[in-house]
Amino acid sequence: MAAAIETEHLRRRFGARLAVDDVSMTVPERAVYGFLGRNGAGKTTTLKMLLGLIRPSGGAARIHGVDIARDRMAAARKVGALLEAHGFYGNLTGAENLALTATLLGAPAREIDRVLEIVEMRADAGRKVAGYSLGMRQRLALARALLGAPPVLILDEPTNGLDPDGIADMRGFLRSLPERTGATVLLSSHLLGEIEQIATHVGVIHDGRLVLEGPLSRLKADLAPEILLRTDDDARARTLLGGRSVSPADTGLAVALRPGEDADQAAAALNQILVQAGLAVFALGAREQSLEDIYRRVAAPAYPKAEAA
């Protein structure tokens, strides 16, 4: 599969801080690529470089093979974007705001109705944007990104401010988009569950570095289930299980399985070690790993308390 979006050793420095550090990402055509990272991880900075809004300190980015630094216009013609700052004019109505963008894109007026229909904003399109709620603005911003049916969508936290119904609608829409139109979607989020439900591919950015990337299915398959346990002395349990990879979980500890190890067998073995050492085991069981776990694991070094626990 060809790449819709590709970056090579992309870097961006703000003063002394490397906001994006050597990011080489590949978004295959027709993928829904979830770009995941905590606040300040570098998602927006990366996306803005893809739009030619900020200049990389190093590296390159291409959209459908077009180098953004060389030919921003050609790259921009392929992209519809939704950014953190919507930039709507409050004195104009929703439809008027879309019309401005449609004019600049050279898109026909019927495009405005089409995209308003998609985000279910037909009824409010005649109202001034100044009176819109956050969720309505977000819908309108998605509608604007869809104007002219661009082959690549770059969406920075598109579900921000949407209610659960709105999130479900957007999820369904984005997930089905590649199949219906052949478009590629790159969306950022810090909501792990969100990405897990929409994305076909995932990239995790942490402290400016792309720490994980690949098809969601493969990433999930790569990850064996883990054993969650809770005892009366987790610190001691950790020492006892020193030979294994143990990390703190929401309650108690999470123990990673060794390659090829059977979860039930492992659970029994762990139980035996702990009980023999005189610990009271309150809970113990296998759990499938989710993106949440991948994320927690790669991001764990940011939390010193993980070491202290």
Binding site: M73, A81, A85, H86, L92, E96, L104, G106
Partner: protein, 241 residues
């Protein structure tokens, strides 16, 4: 470029900038009207319209340019519209060039409105108090040419104010500059060096000395156009964070 211009004009719909464009000339009209009502002899068209143009060029125009450029820039800074605009497949210089043309057009319209409103004020005052009713007819051709020169001489001032307003997302630098510039041009009215001071160039179009007129006009318009081009190029190349 036409698309960009039409977009700029449509943005003014229901905007504060549009309100300002109407309010500033109206203030001038109201002022003239009340001053005329206190008069005791017939008004002379040309001297009143000349006075109106002078007050406009001297004070109202620089202040209006300050406010107008700040408002037009704030329409983008406020909702942080730059990201969206600059991500579109449109050459970036066009965004700024269209803004500059739009502001110059608005200043032209306001200056024309000032003339129109002044005429209306003089007629209205005369209708209300026949004693001050104006005699004869105004020399419109001369006044239009004069007002055209006033706007042409204001291009440098417009370029400076627009660049400042667009460059800084806070309105403070642009307002400080505009108010400061106008202040100095008012307190230093008689200074010879005034012809070199952008905020005083427009009012110099009414100077008696032809050398002053031509110096201020060539600097205001010639240098102004150069400044405008440089401002547009700089803003287009600049990274907006």
């Amino acid at each position: 470029m036409l698309a960009m211009l039409s977009v700029e004009l449509r943005k003014l719909n229901r905007s504060l900038a549009a309100v300002l464009a109407l309010a500033a000339p109206s203030l001038m009209g109201a002022f003239l009207f009340f001053v005329l009502l206190r008069g005791t002899k017939p008004a002379v068209w040309s001297s009143w319209l000349q006075a109106s143009t002078q007050i406009w060029a001297y004070f109202m125009l620089p202040m209006s340019v300050t406010a107008l450029t700040a408002l037009v820039a704030h329409m983008e800074h406020g909702p942080r519209a730059w990201d969206h605009l600059r991500a579109l497949p449109v050459p970036r210089w066009r965004i700024y060039a269209a803004k500059a043309l739009c502001v110059i057009a608005l200043v032209l319209v306001m200056t024309g409105l000032n003339l129109l409103v002044s005429c209306a004020a003089i007629s209205a005052a005369g209708a209300l108090k026949p004693l001050v009713a104006p005699k004869g007819a105004p020399d419109l051709a001369h006044l239009l040419a004069l007002n055209g020169k006033v706007v042409a001489a204001a291009v440098l001032l417009i370029a400076i104010q627009l660049w400042t307003a667009l460059r800084f997302s806070s309105f403070v630098p642009a307002l400080a500059l505009g108010i400061g510039g106008t202040f100095f041009s008012v307190v230093a009215t008689n200074a010879k060096e005034g012809v070199f001071f952008p905020w005083q160039m427009p009012v110099n179009m009414l100077a008696g000395d032809p050398a002053r007129v031509s110096t201020a006009l060539s600097l205001g318009c010639g240098l102004g156009l150069v400044a405008l081009v440089l401002a547009v190029l700089h803003l287009a190349r600049r990274e907006v964070l």
